[in-house]
């Protein structure tokens, strides 16, 4: 008997699903003209990379690491009054999911020949009781609009850091 046909959800598809479920986030997908290993070794070094490509982040400090589970502090730039944000992170090969009380970041990458398909998702997502999330909905809409520009800038930053863009 042959196998029953099945569908496996890849990491890129996973972010596509989550981006459609979370109203305050924006997702951008781009093919980077450099090999996957180079891209992922850069972006997965969260302490060393995030503040390099994201202008809203001053620094990142990992405070706990258990396998693919991390806990880290993200410190905002002056625009965000240098405020810290505590993130729970799932970081594994080709996939990163960071969530705090009100913010979420996702990154995924897969090789495409000598190039890399890279997906980045980011935005506000308020958790809590249904009523609180209802009240926060306008904030999430504003977040989505803002991140429509911010997320592509982040990917531009990654390309600059990798020497793919001047």
């Amino acid at each position: 008997m042959s196998e029953w046909p099945t569908v496996e959800l890849g990491d890129i598809e996973r972010l596509r699903v989550l981006s459609r479920v979370l109203p305050g986030v924006w997702m951008e997908e781009r093919v980077l003209d450099t090999p996957y290993d180079r891209v992922w070794s850069f972006v997965s070094d969260l302490e060393g990379s995030v503040h390099m490509f994201d202008a809203d982040v001053r620094k990142v400090r990992v405070v706990r690491r258990e396998g693919e589970r991390l806990t880290l502090w993200g410190f905002g730039s002056w625009r965000f009054l240098w405020l810290p944000n505590l993130f729970r992170v799932q970081l594994r090969e080709g996939f990163c999911w960071m969530s705090s009380q009100g913010y979420v970041v996702g990154m995924a990458a897969i090789p495409e020949g000598d190039r890399t398909r890279f997906v980045h998702l980011e935005g506000v997502h308020v958790r809590g009781p249904k009523f609180a999330r209802f009240l926060a909905r306008p904030l999430e809409w504003v977040s989505r609009l803002r991140h429509r520009r911010h997320v592509p800038h982040d990917i531009d930053g990654i390309e600059r850091c990798l020497g793919l863009r001047v």
Partner: protein, 171 residues
């Protein structure tokens, strides 16, 4: 395993319902393989789209799920409908009790059977019946519930369908 730790999954559902995105990500890991099996077998080439649409529908409507224990049955219903829709079936295509019976009494998938070829020869709603039987072992009543079968459909047409179904199955 997806459903081996029911307690954990229920907790994930409750957290995801409160908007916890870490729980949503974890729940996606738990539920995607099951949805993928349904959508892959029912929608075939449209399985990728169907699975994504089903998962989006599941997570968008998660706050309305009252009983976290019922997640699997709830997700199954959504996945089957999205898969049938993606496969191009008409929404209101009724599945007959006789067709359901045919699926239940169809021979087991043993021996040298090309499952995909058999599935491709069937209408999406009939594939759904097979998948529900094979994956979850649902009985006729349960399958009828998932597929919203209207009882009392014209018998002659059903009989022809059953005959064709069995012929393809044993071909």
């Amino acid at each position: 395993m997806l459903w081996a730790t029911h307690g954990d999954v229920e907790e994930l559902v409750r957290r995801a319902q409160r908007g916890d995105t870490a729980a949503m990500n974890a729940l996606l890991t738990e539920i995607a393989p099951y949805v993928g099996r349904i959508c892959g077998a029912v929608a075939l080439d449209a399985g990728d789209d169907a699975a994504q649409e089903a998962l989006v529908a599941i997570f968008r409507n998660l706050p309305s799920l009252r009983d976290a224990v019922a997640l699997r049955a709830w997700a199954r219903r959504i996945a089957v409908r999205e898969a049938i829709r993606a496969a191009g079936a008409r929404r209101s295509v009724p599945v007959d009790p006789v067709m359901l019976e045919a699926a239940v009494t169809a021979p087991d998938l043993s021996g040298d059977v090309d499952v995909r070829a058999v599935l491709e020869s069937l209408d999406p709603v009939h594939r759904a019946v097979l998948v529900l039987r094979h994956l979850d072992g649902l009985d006729e009543r349960e399958m009828a519930s998932v597929l919203d079968v209207a009882p009392g459909t014209v018998k002659s047409r059903l009989h022809r369908a059953r005959t064709a179904f069995k012929a393809r199955w044993s071909a």
